[in-house]
Symmetry: C2
Subunit: 418 residues, 2 copies
């Protein structure tokens, strides 16, 4: 197969489909999504068989346990996939929403309309459920999608793609509305991210290596997620019960997620009362603690933290702990070492809370809440295509709105410029 | 001078200043802007002398008339620069605006806050007034700015930079809030657009060659403006007076601007009545007409349009004219040949108007108004840093809001994720 030729054909088909999709009715898009859900349920066994073959091959190829875990589908995850498609069908259609019309001195009325971006390229690794999720979000937002999953999930992705295609057919939407690449040749990614005539935005989902490679090679905008090095700062005016609950939840509710706390900062005035209690809970749960000298003085079982610990996204039961003299030092630490993903303060002091949320330059800033809430579902987006650590376009969890842009609409009555 | 070393220092200083600026009060920013305006007025003669030297050198170097025109400042343009600074001071400060807070089932309140992007790099050509305009918009939106003007305007830009620096000093804001590069070495641009650790977004303003080079080399997001190949479509249900007024204004009010109409599309049913009248006005104003066969049958003085005419942004008194059988053909033409900048329909038919604004994928779509209105001032943004033809982040005229992004804010009361 000539990869470049193939990709250019995929791109041209996506561009043509995007024009039809931008004008597709909400009813047709929802019909397609519900038909996809039906197809996923009807073909559940086919999907599971394909997935079992992928998992067996991956195991033979020596994939690690975490990758195998992400790759493996069960009856429950297939049903969740179907439900996810139905949930996207129930979300409001953002396309065509208009607002903010203002009368200008010239007489014209100027406002904005929400429209699809056009063609979205999504590059992802092991998780096959991304195929259904991404197809659904792109379709609902009126975008054509080009999906490129990992080679280890090819059979699973093709089985899910067949359900997506069936749904599109049922609603008489173009087959090229969602194209799942038939190749896992790495060269295809290089072409996909460098054809601005056919692709409007790239969303990579996967490890840091994948995302850095794509950012380097892309000739179109990339909505990307790099590190999640998240912090909780327990202020001197923190309510101790809230501090304990949040610090424990943010670290231990799940270890491998990007919104998990990786460093805990405590104001010196509360460290003595809180840190030993917290440390006991962490140690009981098997969390390794690495701290500054002041923290280690309070918790003998704590290891010494090195400079590199403050930068690290562990994605594991390890926590860095630092005692800071004041709010300014906490903000400085977060701005110096953080990844601008999600950071929280625990405080009862209003001015401290407001200063924290203004000064911490992260996609999500929180007061008295667990960093684990930084998530499209928890924020009410209905679903998410990813979490952006970029500053332009979309920051934080990206849902349907992040897959659209706003154009200007002018209503006149024959006005001309003088 | 070691250009890379110099640029990295500029970048580091900008990054440090950006943190201070993000927290600067509206009062301080406005004080700086008003002091800059005062300095521009006080040093008007110095600016004019520097500009005269630039113009003389440019003339000696054989710059063309259009470039000389853009480079030349007069007493009036210096006063306009001062007024522009004062106008930006009067605009509402977008930084810290919060809204859309919604209560989620978990109990958290989720909303958004508007924040600066960080460091904005602006690369521009001849016009020295961009130095003041860009500095003002970046400062008001809380961003540090790195400005790189054209070599032909170096003396003018340095004179204006001195006024900007004076304003920053008066308000005790960091000098590095606005840095005007002291070098016009082209290598500096290459470094500026490829240091994501220090620069968050690049705004190039200039010819297509400059913008294409920057898009190719940039390793950070670019808010860019490429072509303005704008259309007016006169529908079969157009009011003839509005059609005449808009078609004449969109082409002839100014020839060299990006929102000037370059192609006129007429429905076949109205061409016979309207085109000869319109052509008479255009020809009287010295506009060269290039049309399809049907248009030439109605206007003998019209030249033959070739395929390449439909793609061309003339920026000159030349107009392409095509007669189309229906609205769908007009939309097809615009989507095939247009540049997605600004396109207008003239019609009294509501359904045609709504179909046009939904189907034409341009940054600005208009009903019964001249394309010349596509402009930050006319849209009520107060000022503009440029007009974007991109789809992500900002489309069309970009004002203060386009220099900011929104982060998520979560207000909790000790909530944890279950």
């Amino acid at each position: 197969m000539d990869i470049e030729q193939y990709m250019l054909q995929v791109g041209a088909r996506a561009r043509a489909a995007a024009r039809q999709l931008a004008a597709a009715s909400t009813r047709a898009k929802n019909q397609a999504l519900n038909a996809m859900a039906q197809a996923v349920r009807a073909r559940a066994q086919t999907i599971l068989d394909a997935n079992a073959a992928d998992v067996a091959a991956a195991r033979a190829n020596g994939l690690d346990d975490a990758m195998l875990d992400r790759l493996t589908l069960g009856a429950r995850s297939v049903e969740q996939m179907a439900q996810g498609l139905e949930q996207v069908a129930m979300l409001p259609d953002p396309v065509g929403e208009m607002g903010d019309f203002k009368r200008r001195p010239s007489g014209i009325l100027v406002g904005k309309m929400r429209v699809p971006l056009g063609v979205v390229g999504i590059i992802y690794e092991a998780r096959p459920n991304v195929t259904a999720d991404a197809a659904a979000l792109c379709l609902k937002s009126g975008n054509a999608a080009i999906l490129r999953g990992g080679s280890e999930a090819l059979r699973s992705n093709q089985a899910i793609a067949a359900c997506v295609a069936e749904g599109l057919r049922a609603a008489q939407l173009p087959a090229a509305a969602v194209q799942v690449l038939e190749t896992t040749d790495r060269a295809a990614v290089g072409v996909l991210v460098a054809m601005p005539q056919y692709v409007d935005v790239i969303v990579p989902r996967g490890g840091k290596g994948l995302i850095e490679r794509i950012s380097r090679e892309a000739r179109v905008p990339v909505i990307k997620h790099l590190d999640g090095n998240c912090h909780v700062y327990v202020d001197e005016f923190a309510h101790p019960d809230k501090a304990l609950a949040i610090a424990v939840n943010a670290k231990t509710q799940r270890y491998g997620t990007c919104n998990t706390m990786e460093s805990l900062l405590l104001h010196a005035a509360v460290a003595e009362a809180l840190l030993p209690r917290l440390a006991a809970i962490y140690l009981e749960k098997g969390v390794e603690l690495r701290g500054c000298a002041a923290a280690r003085a309070l918790v003998p079982q704590m290891h010494e933290a090195t400079e590199s610990d403050w930068y690290t996204e562990y994605l594991a039961p390890i926590l860095a702990v630092r005692i800071v003299p004041d709010l300014a030092a906490a903000i400085d630490h977060i701005e110096t070492y953080g990844s601008h993903h999600t950071d929280a303060i625990v405080t009862e002091n209003h001015s401290h809370a407001m200063r924290f949320i203004a000064a911490v330059d992260s996609a999500s800033v929180m007061v008295n809440a667990s960093t684990r809430f930084a998530d499209g579902f928890e924020y009410g987006l209905g679903a998410e295509i990813g979490i952006s650590t970029d500053k332009v376009h979309a920051r934080g969890p990206v849902g349907l709105e992040g897959l659209t842009s706003q154009k200007w609409v002018v209503f006149g009555n024959g006005e001309i410029r003088g």
